[in-house]
Structures are given as structure tokens and as C-alpha cells.
Subunit: 362 residues, 2 copies
């Protein structure tokens, strides 16, 4: 499988859906991907099982507030610099690139970097969606180390972090985002092919492409895009429990950039003015409550989409008065295990309630 | 020359005087130095001119709020870890250790580390006193790079910063101090012997020892310690313009730990209740104003000492009601040059007034 120029819109749209509001504006990522693919052949995509056990796979990801990404574009030089810094530290060249999260910019940037460098990208990621902290990743859940981790910014400065504790790495890296201008690029969780086979969320790059295509194709054929989206999700093994959570317009929006995150909530009212849905976010949409009752919660997916086109809307692009549909979907069992929920379940985000799968929350 | 167990009290006292309130509690540094010297022979001290041109000299320094140092002791493992990390990055072993600032803990710790590692320490530093930011150092004024810079904490994590801009290094390193627990150890400004000859403030380790001895000896012989201190300073080439700025008790003290610094001011009132001196600090004492008129200002030295024993008092040990004498002293021309004043003159600290040498401020 390869990702070429004709795939970029679909891939960006699907990555935005899986990004559940976060992961950075996919528009910027799409432009970068198109820029890379105009100069390079389509990016080869490797299935996890195709990896050599001793391959060196390096995830590349941006860190910062999505609200900054729309104002400041990081190009290829940042990704290359941070990859070279990590390779130098490891004394070995990367054999493949991977996404740490299959949401927004962080889904697209590694594919663009892979094309730019002439390396393959792995059809997998570490979240199966997007999450706001760097220990919230399946690699961590399975005991992989995020360090050595290299981070860089537009000034060309490089910071290398060494630690055996992923939560401490998050705490050390996060405050550096601010002097790095609110957004930086990092290479982290360098892993063997063997480790990727054990701990990655598989086939999520294909998943993003499929979701984006389902919406795009319906639009092209003037079919109802949400029906097409749901029909496609129901063909997947793990994301098939999906449904429309709400249909209405945004009547209240609170959003602030705090300690490098975009934090807040959106209130959506239905067109009868009778019911309200509250969606809480920290970069990503984390919980949806209809009239005070939780209808979907992390790690299950909550996406807010334009109610006509089914184009996913990121946190920083939410606007007062927008007419939207809110969609929820289930995630793979690897993301709902006890160990996983300890890292990215409701309580990890400060919600005082247990995880209830979307298929049971009706 | 060597520094042995019989020198530790004098050296710590002199380093506290030159620290002008900052550089970290010298008491902690003295304990560490004594611990090292109980197991190792006296630390050999090299004059700058004794260095080989191609020696690799590595300054080691703590960064953080002095208020934290009294609650948390960093031992030898932190200094060794950070030195080894830098050596690994440079592909070369250090041939000598140096102080970045000859104030408080940061004067003592490198001497203790040198004894512990069996390396010589250089009779010089980069400030001729203490300053609160890492670009405020003569090495920077002469164009040396602070990076690669390694920092570590009690958890064993290591952060390596690469940058060609020393101000950006300060901005990247400073916020990491907070997740590192308010205090960390760093190895920075790795330099050749040739560079040290060009840009270090010379003989400041001897200077600290001499100042500490002058006070200690007077006490032992029951002479007036301030007279002995002034008599000694007047024998030095550069610090001979010295005088008593004020004699009184602390009647007001404002001190907060802000962004990794101890920031505030002390108001000292004379015993007639007629006159007041305001000493402003950010880790170090920066400006002394008597009745609204500046009588001493950075980079000249301002030290607050116990009015009976002439023991220097650090910022974090100032107390309401303390009876103190405030002493001012001149610094070497290398510290008062135009280039130097741009980096650590009054305006670099936000004071809207020019530098006036203490000998002219009368």
C-alpha cells in the first residue's frame, strides 16, 4: 500500500475524525504532505507484520497547543533535525517512521516526513486516536520508554531528554513547549519492530484513509455523508459501535490556551431548544454529556462534524453558532483494557466516573 | 595551591560574601566539600595560566531558587551524572572543573566535585560574584557557547540542550527547573584552556578564600571582623574600593519564589530610626538605595552581613529584625566593560538607571 497525492484529502479528513478535535489542524498537515508528495514518490506504508523484528521505528509528533499550529507552520527541517538528533544518540539510522497519534497533524506529518526522507511509514500508531499527553500512548502501556526523546523548534535548538519514567518525561518536556514558541516537533519512543508488533494500535492509517474516503465519496456522489460514515465504521472490526450523539448548534464555547493546552467546553443545543449536549475538551474532546448524563467518554471517540458536509471540526476551529453533528464510536479492546484505562480512562483526565463503553451507554 | 579540610569554613564564608546573597546556601556546599575531602586528598587548584591550551574545562553549577537548596541537597551523583553526559556528547573527558559563579553553593560544589573525581579545579569563574541567569557570565560576553548543556535532578533524569544562542538556552533551561523539583545541577560552557585564558574572571577562588580568612582570623583573634575584611579587600587589585553602606536592622522583608527565582527586597533601618536602605534582590542583591538614592548597583558587590560576626547572610536567610551591616565593593574592569554591562548591568535587571561605580557613587 502507498499513500499518494490523490489520497491526501481523504486521509486528512479521516485523521481529523480520529483526532476527536485534537492532534493539530489537519489542513496544515495536508499541505505539508502534498508538498512532500509533489517531489517524492507515494509513501510506502508497511503493515506491522511486515516489519523486521530488529527494525528501528521512530515515531515523530508535534507537541503544543493546537491553537498555535494554525499560526505557525513547522516544516520538514524540524522533523529531520529531531530524527537525526535521536539517530545520533542511538548510533543507528531509523528504518521506518510511525505516527504516535493518528489524529490531525500528528497523523499526517509522519507520512509527509517519510515521503520526504524516502522511508516507509508504519500502518499503526500509539493511540488509535489523539490524546493530550505523551505518556497516554499504547507504547507506554506496554512498557516502552519515551526517552531518549529529542525535541526541536523553529529556531533550530534541540533538547534531548533521558529518563526511565514516561510521566516524568511528559513533565520535563511540557514546560519547554512554551519557550519553544508554543509548538515543537519531537522524535520519541524509538522502538524495535518486535516492540511495535506487541504494542502498537494496528491499521489505524488505513482506518483514517477509509473513514475519510467514506465521507468524501458520499459527497461526490451526493449521498448523505453521515450514513456513509456510519456504514463504513460498521464494516470495521473495532469501531463498529457508532452513533449520532447529537444534532444542533453551538450556543456556548469556552476555550483557553493554558500550560500549552487548549482547554474548555462547547455547549450544543438542539433545534427545538429543548436539549443540550456539553462536550468537554483538553486539546481533544473527552466527554459528551446530554442533559447531565454521560453519553460518550474517553477513550471512545467523540467527533464534532459539520452537519451538512460531515467535515470534522478541530477544537480550535469550533465557533459560536456552528451547526454540527456529534458522533461517537467505539475503539479497539487494546485501548479499553484495565491497564489502558489507567493511563487514558476518564479518571486520568480528572472525571469522577468510570469508563462506560459507548455501546452500553445508551 | 590546594584546598583542604582546614580551608572549608573560610572558603564557604568568602564565597557567601562574593555571592551577594545568591549562589545557594554555602552551608550545604561546605558540608559536601568536607564530605569529599574526608575521602580524597586536598583539591589541586590550577591558576588559569597553568592550563594547557587544549585542556577541556567544564563548569558545573546548580540552577534554581536558593530557597529550595536549604530543603533539598544534591549530592555528588548529580554532578557526576551531568559531567558524564556532557563528556559523552563531546566524546572527550574533562581535564579540569571550574565554577561558573564564585557565589555560595556554586563556588563550593565544583571544588567538592573536583576532589570527589580526582580532578583539579581552576582558580577562576565566570561572574566574579553570583548572578541569576546563565547568560550572565563572562564566558557568554566573550562569545563562548553555553551549549551543549546537560542538566539533571535527583530522579536521575538528564536533559541535554543544543543551541547556538545563550539567551535561548536560558529560556529553555529555566522552566525545566520546576519539574526538576526547583533545583537541578548542570554542566555547561565546556571550554578549551585557551578560551578560559581569554574569558574567565581570574583568581576568584583565591579571592573567596582570602576574604573568608580575613573575617575568620579576626574573629579568632578577637579583632573587629569588618575592619579586617576592609583591610583585606584594600590589598586586592580590583576589589579595593569597598565601604560600609549601612548599619541597622531589617524592618521589612518581601520575598517570593517566582519562576524559579527568589525575588523581593529588604528594608533596613538605622538605629536612630532616621534612615533606611532598600536592597532589591533576584536571588542576588542587585541594588542598594539609601533614602531613595542608589549607593551601589550591579555588577558591584552588595553583601549583607551579621553586624557582630561579619558572617554573610544569603537571600533566603534574611529575617525580620536581623541586625546587619551592608557592605559594597568594586569589581574587576572585565566585569564593568560596556559589553559586560549590557549583559549584567542595571538595565539587564530592569533598573532604569546607568551603572555608577561604587567609588563614584559616594
Amino acid at each position: 500500500m502507498r499513500i499518494g497525492l490523490s489520497d491526501t484529502h481523504d486521509f486528512a479528513r479521516g485523521a481529523a475524525f480520529l483526532g476527536t478535535g485534537g492532534g493539530g489542524d489537519p489542513y496544515i498537515g495536508r499541505l505539508l504532505l502534498e508538498q512532500a508528495l509533489k517531489k517524492s514518490p507515494p509513501t510506502p506504508v508497511l503493515k506491522v507484520d511486515e516489519l523486521d523484528d530488529d527494525a528501528l521505528v521512530v515515531p515523530i509528533a508535534g507537541m503544543g497547543a493546537p491553537t498555535v499550529i494554525v499560526e505557525k507552520i513547522l516544516g520538514f527541517s524540524e522533523g529531520e533535525r529531531v530524527l537525526r538528533a535521536l539517530e545520533k544518540r542511538l548510533g543507528r539510522k531509523a528504518t521506518a517512521i510511525m505516527s504516535a497519534e493518528i489524529g490531525g497533524l500528528n497523523a499526517l506529518y509522519p507520512v509527509a516526513m517519510a515521503a520526504h526522507l524516502g522511508l516507509p511509514v508504519v500502518d499503526a500508531d500509539g493511540m488509535g486516536r489523539a490524546f493530550p499527553e505523551l505518556q497516554m500512548v499504547s507504547f507506554n502501556i506496554f512498557g516502552q520508554r519515551s526517552a531518549p526523546l529529542a525535541m526541536t523548534d523553529e529556531n533550530g535548538d534541540v533538547v534531548l531528554i533521558e529518563s526511565d519514567d514516561n510521566l516524568r518525561v511528559e513533565r520535563l518536556a511540557r514546560p519547554i513547549v512554551v519557550p519553544m514558541g508554543g509548538l515543537c516537533m519531537m522524535a520519541l519512543y524509538p522502538m524495535s519492530g518486535r516492540a511495535v508488533k506487541e504494542c502498537a494500535i494496528r491499521d489505524t492509517l488505513s482506518l483514517a484513509l477509509g473513514i475519510g474516503r467514506a465521507i468524501g465519496q458520499a459527497r461526490k456522489e451526493q449521498r448523505e455523508p453521515f450514513e456513509s460514515l456510519f456504514a463504513h465504521l460498521r464494516t470495521t472490526e473495532y469501531y463498529r459501535h457508532c452513533r449520532l450523539l447529537f444534532d444542533g448548534k453551538i450556543v456556548d464555547l469556552k476555550r483557553e490556551t493554558l500550560r500549552g493546552w487548549a482547554i474548555g467546553h462547547a455547549i450544543i443545543e438542539d433545534f427545538s431548544g429543548q436539549r443540550r449536549l456539553e462536550v468537554t475538551f483538553r486539546n481533544e474532546f473527552l466527554r459528551a454529556r446530554a442533559d447531565g448524563r454521560t453519553v460518550a467518554i474517553v477513550p471512545d471517540l467523540i467527533s464534532i462534524l459539520d452537519r451538512e458536509t460531515a467535515e470534522p471540526i478541530t477544537t480550535e476551529n469550533l465557533k459560536y453558532g456552528q451547526r454540527v453533528k456529534v458522533v461517537g464510536a467505539s475503539v479497539p479492546p487494546i485501548m479499553r483494557s484495565e491497564r489502558a484505562l489507567q493511563v487514558w480512562g476518564p479518571r486520568a483526565f480528572g472525571f469522577d466516573e468510570p469508563f462506560v463503553p459507548i455501546e452500553a451507554a445508551l
